[in-house]
């Protein structure tokens, strides 16, 4: 059984016991524990079930590479699926539950898949479930989906907060082991700004566990001393619980800080995503121990040798009483020594190397432990827990030589440098045959903005397995990045590290080397996804020779650990199957993040109210408190209608239309874009921007203008007012202000940079109100201050003045067909002005109206709306707007485009009005049906509806649409689609439905 030891435990605080639950059972741990350590201390080796076969899974590792110990963590709004027990810090009140089983962790009916595993080899689903066709969707897929997935789907809404943080420095060092600390120190000594991050809560990495001494100090003490020195440097920022998660182009890196995962509810942000911009990066990310591939290597109790050591030394947890160590290298002997020292039993060390190891082996032998050389494990015995191992000759096919009882197998297949961050942005790898590992190729680094490498790798991650060269390498890389980032290198001694001599490992990719199919089909490569040696061999046999093909076919390395434990072993099996050297088979691409990071951290503060900025006019709050039914419009929110009492939206719209036509309505038009264009060449410039002539507009007058893209399509419209000889004010659509402003700047800066024109966007300086309806003038006259008579302010004129003491500019323009003034006042006075209008307008029947009323008013008059009549495929000529296209001008944006054969074409659909024969409202987006069908069997069309409304004014449906030869077909009845029923008949009419003579505005 696994249990807590009385000795050891450098990271735990025995004075602070913590209580937590696992699958409802109350357990206890200590402050400083990882959850995996706490669970083991409570004899909970079984922590999960595998993905495909639902086999029992125990913890395998002690860090972020853990594939098995994934749990449902927390409850309700604090729930998180797939939390790794090895990287979850135990806290008081923690609630954990195991995943992917039914009905329970101990008894999972899904484990039947394991019994059927011979029928479910790699890629079985590509070959099965083909017939009958409908069964995939209705039978097979639901079953597969049901058994897939790991953790539960979260349900309650996340209540935690998250944030981003931009950090600028010259050097970022990833990894707080001795290499990272040394690299940071060497880099900092050059005077540049350094950021050092460590993913765990602790500094020092493996060195304190492995008994390294540095400059005569125990590693632990050297780490504390170095850390204190770094903390005292002004130019160094150090950060634990912060993982270097990804390296991106131009010196951008992500660091994922888990601030409050271990202190939920303390009010701090849960995670902070650091967006680091630096010149140079050192990845001192260490290495990950490789499993060995032997039959039964997935049974709970089989663990990485280094993890066994970590649990004993760091957490005072014994994974089991009797541990068999199996290895191909010297390092695993440290585990045996450590267990021995903790008073635990090591009945046997199985070393696949015929010659065995060096000093560490001798030390082990000296303490009386038996070492079996040239041996391997034929098979592990046990179900939900290891009960023993069968020993065989490594060179053979698996004949059992002896059986040894044990409850833990500590395995070590050598070490793989963590090269992920090096590779994220294009760094290449070389195969180091002596050490059987891929390590970074210093000649092919990721390239930065200047074309030079910007990432260096230090220590274990760079392929240095012994601590002395680790520190030397780290110091050298630290100095190099400091220099490259603009620092000055000082001479400094490199701390001298001491550890045991080691002899070379011997690569072992399969144990025993001639293992039978029966053994190979029980030798796991990917523990979570259930990929075995036999699966990779089958993939190779079936032609999946590229490592990417093999990976995708078998799902090797695609689990939540992203192949940290399985990739190299799988690659070696593939290369053997293909009879090709490992480097020729290649590696898969490493993709960020290094380990999974929370989605919430990506969103940062942008959630809820801060999801996106809402632009608000000066009158926004008034609308909100007066029943506004909001509509998002280009970043703004505008009232769609103002609801009174128990009105429906449709009723409110109808009321607003009738009131505006009969009495008086106000529209908050502040969102309309307003751009000042000024200069000696401003007229010439606007003549290029607009299809109409703007240079000949007289000061004091307004003109409706159209803007097209250079590709000919109508892109914006609005009223242009000429202010003085050199100044124009251009109105744009609500969504268009920033876009049109940028469009003007673009042409001025990049094409006509010698033209003397200045442009300023003053949209937000002004609040604008449309005062609309038969009583509009009466109201303004009542308020007083300026002459708004037909004589002094005729249609399409503007004037500056004051109304009720507020400075304003009044435009006599109409988008409704009514007598109408648009009045602009300084934004800070917008609300006051609006409230004054409301109050003074009461006697004239004033009501505010929203965007839908605006739409109906303009549609009744046949005015086009950008975004309705236009959709990016419509040119002004389609909309009967040829009158707004100057024939006098040689050039304007879009003119040449409109001369192309498909645009200068009488067959284009043209704008008309449409009325159903029965007075009903045509459906939005309906198409006009034509005879027959096209070569692809699609029904032919001859037009479409662009705007359609119920007109409260006319008491019937009205619509505008584009119809083939429409203007020549007045009175003709054509058919429009209606969803789910028969087509509707509609008559082609003039698009001006109301007051065709324009009498109402002409007063």
């Amino acid at each position: 059984m696994s249990t807590r030891l009385a000795s050891h435990g450098r990271l735990i605080n025995r004075a602070r016991a913590l209580s937590f639950t696992f699958n409802g059972k109350v357990m206890s741990g200590f402050e400083g524990d990882s959850l995996a350590a706490s669970l083991l201390a409570n004899d909970q080796m079984l922590m999960g079930r595998s993905f495909k076969y639902h086999r029992p899974r125990g913890v395998l590792a002690s860090g972020g590479e853990e594939p098995n110990a994934l749990i449902n963590l927390g409850v309700e709004s604090g729930f998180e699926p797939n939390a790794r027990a090895t990287t979850t810090e135990t806290f008081s009140g923690l609630t954990a539950a195991s995943q992917n089983h039914f009905p329970s962790l101990e008894f999972d009916v899904g484990a039947i898949n394991s019994k059927l595993s011979r029928f479910l080899p790699a890629g079985f689903y590509y070959k099965m479930f083909i017939h009958p066709r409908s069964f995939w969707k209705h039978i097979y897929e639901p079953i597969i989906r049901h058994s897939a997935g790991l953790g539960k789907a979260p349900k309650a809404r996340d209540q935690d907060s998250y944030e981003h943080y931009y950090h600028h420095c010259e050097v970022m060092v990833v990894g707080g082991g001795i290499a990272g600390l040394q690299a940071a120190q060497s880099a900092a000594a050059t005077g540049v700004r350094v950021l050092l991050v460590e993913q765990t809560a602790h500094w020092g990495g493996r060195a304190p566990v492995d008994g390294v001494t540095i400059d005569g100090l125990a590693a632990e003490d050297w780490v504390a001393q170095t850390l204190a020195e770094l903390a005292a440097c002004d130019n160094v920022v150090i950060r634990n619980r912060t993982q270097g998660s990804g390296v991106y182009d131009h010196g951008y890196a992500l660091a994922y800080e888990r601030i409050a995962d271990h202190t939920p509810g303390d009010g701090r942000p849960r995670h902070r995503l650091w967006r680091v911009r630096c010149k140079q990066i050192v990845t001192a990310t260490g290495a990950i121990e490789r499993p060995l591939s032997f039959a039964g290597n997935d049974i709970p109790g089989v663990m990485l040798a280094s993890a066994v050591r970590d649990y004993v030394v760091n957490f005072a947890v014994s994974p089991g009483d009797r541990t068999v160590v199996v290895t191909n290298n010297d390092d695993a002997y440290r585990t045996a020594l450590c267990l021995l020292e903790a008073g635990l039993e090591v009945p046997l060390i199985v070393d696949a190397r015929p010659e065995g190891g060096g000093a560490l082996m001798e030390a082990v032998q000296a303490s009386g432990i038996r070492v079996a050389l040239g041996r391997g494990i034929a098979k592990v015995k046990g179900g939900k827990r290891v009960t023993g191992v069968q020993i065989c000759a490594q060179a053979g096919e698996g004949s059992v030589l002896e059986e040894v009882a044990c409850d833990v197998v500590a395995m070590s297949g050598g070490w793989s440098p963590v090269v992920h961050l090096w590779s994220h942005c294009g760094g290449k790898l070389i195969w180091d045959a002596d050490q059987a590992m891929f390590r970074p190729d210093p000649d092919q680094p990721p390239l930065g903005a200047d074309g030079a490498g910007f990432v260096k790798v230090a220590g274990l991650a760079n392929g240095h397995l012994r601590s002395a060269p680790v520190l030397e390498d780290a110091a050298e890389q630290g100095r190099a990045v400091g220099r490259a980032a603009g620092g000055k290198v000082q001479k400094a001694a490199v701390p001298a590290a001491m550890d045991a001599e080691e002899v070379a490992l011997s690569p072992v990719w399969l144990m025993p080397q001639g293992a039978s199919y029966a053994l190979r089909s029980k030798a796991w490569l990917d523990f979570q996804n259930d990929v075995k040696v036999s699966d990779v061999q089958l993939a190779a046999q079936e032609g999946f020779e590229s490592v990417e093909h093999a990976k995708r076919y078998t799902t090797l390395g695609m689990a939540t650990d992203q192949g940290k434990l399985s990739n190299i072993n799988g690659l070696a099996i593939l290369s053997k199957s293909l009879n090709a050297p490992i480097p020729d088979v290649g590696t898969t691409t490493f993709r960020p993040p290094y380990t999974p990071i929370s989605m919430a951290s990506l969103a940062g503060e942008a959630r809820g109210e801060l999801f996106q900025p809402v632009r608000k006019t000066p009158m926004h709050a008034w609308h909100d408190s007066h029943g506004a039914d909001w509509e998002p419009v280009g970043g703004w929110r505008r009232p769609y209608a103002y609801l009174r009492g128990s009105e429906t939206v449709a009723q409110a719209v109808e009321r607003e239309v009738i009131n505006t036509r009969e009495k008086l309505g106000f529209l908050d038009a502040s969102t309309l874009g307003k751009i000042i264009v000024k200069g000696p060449d401003a007229g010439k410039f606007l003549d290029m921007m607009y299809t109409n002539m703007m240079s000949n507009l007289q000061p004091g007058r307004c003109r409706y203008g159209l803007m097209c893209s250079e590709n000919g399509f109508l892109s914006d419209d609005g009223v242009v007012a000429r202010i003085d000889e050199q100044t124009w004010l251009c109105h744009t659509t609500s969504g268009g202000a920033d876009r049109i402003h940028a469009h003007m700047e673009e042409w001025l800066q990049t094409e006509w940079w010698d033209w003397k024109v200045w442009v300023v966007n003053v949209t937000e300086q002004l609040a604008q109100v449309a005062v609309v309806g038969p009583n509009a003038r009466k109201l303004l006259e009542k308020l007083g201050g300026m002459d708004v008579s037909a004589e002094r302010l005729p249609f399409m004129a503007w004037a500056d003045g004051t109304i009720a003491g507020i400075d304003c500019r009044a435009y006599r323009i109409s988008f409704s067909g009514e007598l109408s003034y648009e009045i602009a006042v300084p934004a800070n006075q917008g609300l006051v002005f609006w409230e004054m209008l409301m109050e003074a307008g009461a006697e004239f029947g004033a009501m505010p109206y929203g965007t839908e009323c605006l739409h109906i008013l303009r549609a009744e008059k046949g005015f086009i709306m950008i975004g309705d009549e236009t959709d990016g495929t419509v040119i002004p000529q389609d909309l009967g707007l040829s009158w707004a296209i100057s024939k006098k001008k040689d050039d304007f944006l879009g003119k040449r485009a409109q001369q192309r054969s498909f645009m200068d074409n009488p067959d284009r659909w043209q704008l008309v009005g449409l009325e159903t024969l029965d007075g009903s409202v045509l459906e939005d987006g309906a198409y006009a049906i034509a005879e027959g069908s096209n070569a692809n069997g699609q029904g032919n069309t001859q037009g479409r509806v662009t705007s359609t409304y119920y007109s409260p004014t006319l008491g019937k449906g009205i619509a505008m649409g584009l119809v083939h030869n429409g203007p020549e077909r007045m009175g003709e009845v054509i058919y429009f689609t209606k969803i789910g029923t028969n087509p509707v008949q509609a008559k082609i009419v003039s698009p001006v439905f109301y007051d065709p003579e324009g009498e109402k505005a002409n007063v």
Binding site: E163, H164, I238, I259, R268, R272, P613, K616, K678, W758
Partner: protein
């Protein structure tokens, strides 16, 4: 316009004590420089900075754009004087007082709060007192300048003032200090 304040681990405060004008003109023009000097008694700032005399500020927005800030009560007169002094030159002067909003971020960790929102390097070494920059603050554009080592001003558009205020308050929330955690 409401004057808001939030006391977090730095203090966020909204101000409306200045009129603001946008001037588009060639800042290299000696006539433009002279007009500004005459009217406002402030020199044209170098790029990346602002210049100040008393309560009047000129900030470098681009090679041909200045942001002019003058005390509110002097705004009308200054605008008229500038119009007169620039007359005959190629320029565009626009009142943007109502279009913009200024917040101050005060406290020893003011730069840290900025760093939660803007991708620019706002460290003291790179962005000292007297610096002025335009950048992106979360999802909106803004301008920022350093008045004192522990007091930064942020200017944004009026329509997004609620958003920016909420952003700043969130970033300044006690408990979310970056440097305090280790």
């Amino acid at each position: 316009m409401s004057e808001r304040e939030f006391q977090g681990y730095v203090t966020i405060r909204q101000h409306s004590d200045h009129s603001m004008f946008t001037l588009r003109a060639s800042l290299a023009s000696s006539k433009v420089k002279a007009a500004l000097k005459t009217c406002l008694n402030v020199a044209v700032p170098k790029r990346g900075t602002y210049a100040q005399t008393g309560e009047t500020l000129l900030a470098w927005m681009s090679p041909d754009e200045l942001l002019i800030m003058v005390p509110k009560d002097a705004g009308g007169a200054a605008f008229a004087a500038l119009e007169q002094a620039l007359d005959g030159l190629h320029y565009l002067l626009a009142d943007v007082s109502d279009a913009r909003v200024r917040f101050t971020i005060e406290g020893g960790s003011a730069r840290e709060v900025v760093a939660k929102l803007a991708p620019m390097d706002a460290s003291a070494a790179q962005f000292g007192v007297g610096s002025f920059a335009r950048s992106r603050f979360a999802q909106v554009a803004g301008a920022i300048f350093v008045e004192q080592e522990d007091r930064l001003s942020l200017i944004c558009f009026r329509s997004v003032q609620d958003y920016v205020f909420a952003l700043l308050c969130g970033a300044a929330k006690p408990g979310s200090e970056v440097r305090a955690q280790s």
